[in-house]
Symmetry: C2
Subunit: 557 residues, 2 copies
């Protein structure tokens, strides 16, 4: 046999719905040429979804998984022998739990043939919490005459033991559940190119998942690399391709492929290109929709302030909207809200064709002020009074969300989250943070991009006006914080832990500013602890991958 | 030399205050007999605090640590040579970061001599995220003529390579930052007894930290085991002891000491003994105070409902209160609150000598109802209206906390947290959850115990009345949930992942109840995501050690 049809698949199915797996696999083999040999490649932990987290400890979950494997096994046995599957799956074994590859050939029982060797345990990854390290006798499989080298996700980024492969591989198959961050696609391709070179141009199939779970987005964008050429599948949606692999019997020279340094996303110092903005927009729309659909929401609710953050979140939600879905916006002005805010909220809603409700909180705010002041015999002022406005809005939005069964969208940006410039149980509420991984300066860039692409959907004045929480007269963000251009750069440098105080001063930041900002970031941890999931679009983000103490926080002096 | 003074120390100092370390160590050597030889043992990661979490990646934190080590080094060099230190410390080295032991002798430079070998990466532990695995040439040190075997925390629970020690050890020193859970002290002692036996009665010094960080409590309770006798230090406070170790030159037979199974805490099926209740009470008081003091709070605020949960939290806070501190309680009745609730809140406050404010929310609630109903043209009812009451209380409590600079105490119990029987941004708010790791049935037991110990501080009717959220007429918890006796047992069994559905049915639970409750637990993850830290007093708890997805949550059918 001299040809193998290799099918790269990145299906988009609900990983929690165990009854969807069999029909999906059945659909793959349907109408396939029965004279050819087919190999179907499906992503890392396709049977389970990634990451299953502590669910994998649940005995009922484990039973369901075993039951599923049995069902699939009957299916595999019912097939003709020209069908071959390599599927990422959870392997419960006597030696413990493994992140493995299931191999099945038509007419035979499925069997686990490879266990992931490099278990990432940094950033958002906790694989050493769950899985035993694979110690595989072989890192390749023969299908008919074809020799296929195997890698599961992190295995690709660690030092790759090319010397463990026979040096006449026909294909390298890399199975992934690789969480998205900005420009990660290029980084994956660059890494695979490196391996392609080191293995004397052996073809490589990179298969990635399409789904999202809470903050994590898996973007697909699987690809095939052959003879330095690359064919990329779609991002953020199901896709597949069939590659006709031809047998080549020549022995090749493989070079060592050392480990790749830890990935980083684009920096805030770079201006985002249109391509990057488009990618971000797609990622955020996809992540938002995945969360909503998996949690069963058909309605979105958003509080518009007339500011840029809620404007951009509304635009993203609107762009992501499916036919069956609905979005409602509420503008909740206090006595400190400017008339400009109202008109901008209205203009935005019209441009986006979103229903806008206008619910002034002045009366309720003053009623609360009066009742509280009278009760405690103290005038309510300063931060306490500012927070009341924000929390009253929170209460009204949550009530509306409860009434309509809507998912309340959080509108915080990353700069605010970092320094704690928000009110706990006030503007910090919501089911999901859509732009919480974007610095303020990046929110502006995304707004500009959306306007370039879709016409003026974000009013220009919303972009141009000075940021304000509008919780007291003439309040400006810049009263409390450095300008966002400087703040965002500093915040990113602090988050990435690359530079010490001394180095940051050398780079041009004021010493007092660094100390102030860094201590604000530490102090705001108590707010982030109680925050919703943040769609992750950066290499290093708040959320799962950022683990800091609240009490006994160390401060820079 | 035939005698070594071994000093076990469990100091209680703020780990974040790097300037406290040197004065503390200076205080140790002061007034010590200069003719004797002294060995000071200090807990795991004493220099850093456990766990430093992602702080250890911060270059400024690392610089501070290096600076501290230099300062301490000067101090060590200034001392006479009869002083020896073994101190748990972070070791930044060219091979990476290690959880190590620093050895210093008077007149010499300090040096790292042992690196933790067993890195726990389960439950609340993420050590493989931070530390490299120690690969020590030797697991013992000689101080004068004394041979001392070394273990850092998890090393004690893993298989202990007694064959790597010379079989004439004079002492085994175990350095720990062992998080508290109920009855853990006995489990530690049992394990050390096992090692004591296996090493032919070699004396063992078990040194543990005293501190708390967010949900984690480190209880001290260090101990010395010699010739089957045990001397235990205090729990939840600084303490120390000096042990005169005598040289014994006989060679002994050591047996293998296999790994110990994963620890569990007492089960809800057991009635808590007075000793256990006392231990719990001390743990909660300590954890609460540590959080408050490290975050700089001198005032506590609590919303009393007249129910058992807020009553018990108020009692715990009151019992923990320091002279300089103040506690304020607010009773915030709605139209559905019974007169019994008011009288119970009053009786409790009097018994506890806590100031009680009485702030009816009926007017504000009806104002909100009217405004919202009028605005949306829909009658406000059902869950939306119930939640408004809870969120209005939340808003009023947070406003008061902002006004007075108080720390708002959360009053949720573990049963509620598990099934999501609470209002997000309502009764779920607060800086710290005091009893969130206690099931409802355990809250009652603690109430009974406190009454036995302190007289009737929790009114008997508060214990006897049927639990209700009082958010609609005649509402009872039992309308929505199984009775707490059954629920709690089931919740614990579900949490511990010991039994499948089939097994739980065999154990006497209704199939429908198991499915209902298990799915409630999964579904409530979105509320727990936005919850404050929960003082951990169980082996398996919500919080850091419980990692579940929100979206794409798998459900039992």
């Amino acid at each position: 046999m001299s040809q193998l049809n290799v099918h790269l698949h990145q299906p988009h199915i609900n990983r929690a719905a165990f009854d969807q797996y069999l029909p999906y696999l059945q659909s793959l083999v349907a109408k396939k040429d029965e004279k050819s040999t087919h190999l179907y490649l499906l992503p890392e932990l396709f049977l389970a979804g990634y990451p299953p987290m502590d669910l994998c400890f649940d005995p009922d979950y484990q039973n369901c998984m075993q039951k599923l494997l049995k069902e699939l096994d009957s299916f595999f046995q019912s097939l003709a022998s020209n069908h071959h599957f390599l599927i990422g799956a959870l392997e419960y074994s006597e030696q413990g739990l493994f992140n493995s590859l299931l191999y099945a050939r038509g007419g035979e029982h499925g069997r686990f043939i490879y266990r992931k060797e490099s278990l990432p345990n940094y950033d958002i990854f906790d694989e050493k919490r769950y899985y035993q390290k694979g110690e595989n006798q072989r890192a390749q499989i023969e299908i008919e005459d074809f020799k296929i080298g195997l890698l599961i996700c992190e295995d690709l980024w660690a030092a790759i033991p090319t010397n463990r492969w026979s040096h006449d591989l026909d294909l390298i198959a890399s199975f992934n559940a690789s969480p998205y961050h900005l420009s990660k696609g290029q980084q994956r391709i660059a890494r695979v190119q490196e391996l392609h070179q080191k293995t004397n141009l052996t073809p490589i199939a990179y298969v990635n998942s399409v789904c999202a779970q809470d903050e994590l987005i898996f973007d697909g964008a699987s690809f095939l690399m052959e003879n330095k050429q690359i064919q990329v599948l779609k991002s953020f949606q199901a896709d597949g391709l069939c590659y006709q692999l031809n047998k080549q019997d020549q022995k090749k020279v493989y070079a060592d492929c050392p480990a790749h340094p830890r990935l980083k996303s684009a920096s805030v110092t770079e201006v985002l290109s249109d391509l990057q903005c488009e990618e971000l927009l797609q990622a955020l729309c996809f992540g938002l929709q995945e969360y909503a659909q998996q949690c069963g929401f058909q309605k979105f609710l958003i509080g518009l302030s007339g500011g840029i953050d809620s404007g951009v979140v509304a635009a993203i939600a609107r762009l992501s909207l499916k036919d069956c879905q609905h979005i409602e916006a509420v503008y909740l002005p206090s006595q400190f809200s400017s008339s400009l805010s109202l008109s901008l909220a209205q203009t935005l809603s019209q441009a986006l064709d979103i229903e806008l409700k206008h619910f002034p909180i002045k009366f309720l705010h003053s009623t609360l002020q009066r009742e509280i002041s009278q009760y405690y015999g103290e005038k309510l002022e300063g931060l306490s009074d500012e927070n009341i406005q924000s929390r009253l809005r929170g209460l009204l939005l949550m009530t509306r969300a409860n009434q309509t069964g809507a998912m309340l969208l959080n509108t915080s940006n990353r700069s605010e989250l970092a320094v704690g410039y928000s009110t706990l149980y006030g503007d910090s509420i919501g089911a999901l943070s859509v732009i919480g991984d974007l610095y303020k300066t990046e929110v502006y860039q995304l707004a500009h991009y959306m306007n370039r692409k879709y016409g003026l959907i974000i009013p220009q004045e919303m972009i141009d006006r000075e940021p304000s929480a509008e919780l007291r007269p003439d309040q400006k963000d810049s009263d409390s914080l450095p300008n966002y251009q400087e703040l965002d750069l500093l915040l990113e440098r602090i988050h990435n832990c690359e530079h010490s105080l001394e180095k940051l001063v050398e780079l041009g930041h004021q010493r007092e500013t660094v100390i102030q900002v860094k201590n604000l970031v530490h102090k705001a941890q108590f707010k982030r602890q109680q925050f919703c999931p943040i769609l992750k679009i950066k290499g290093q983000s708040f959320g799962l991958g950022h683990r800091m103490p609240i009490s006994s926080a160390w401060n820079l002096k």
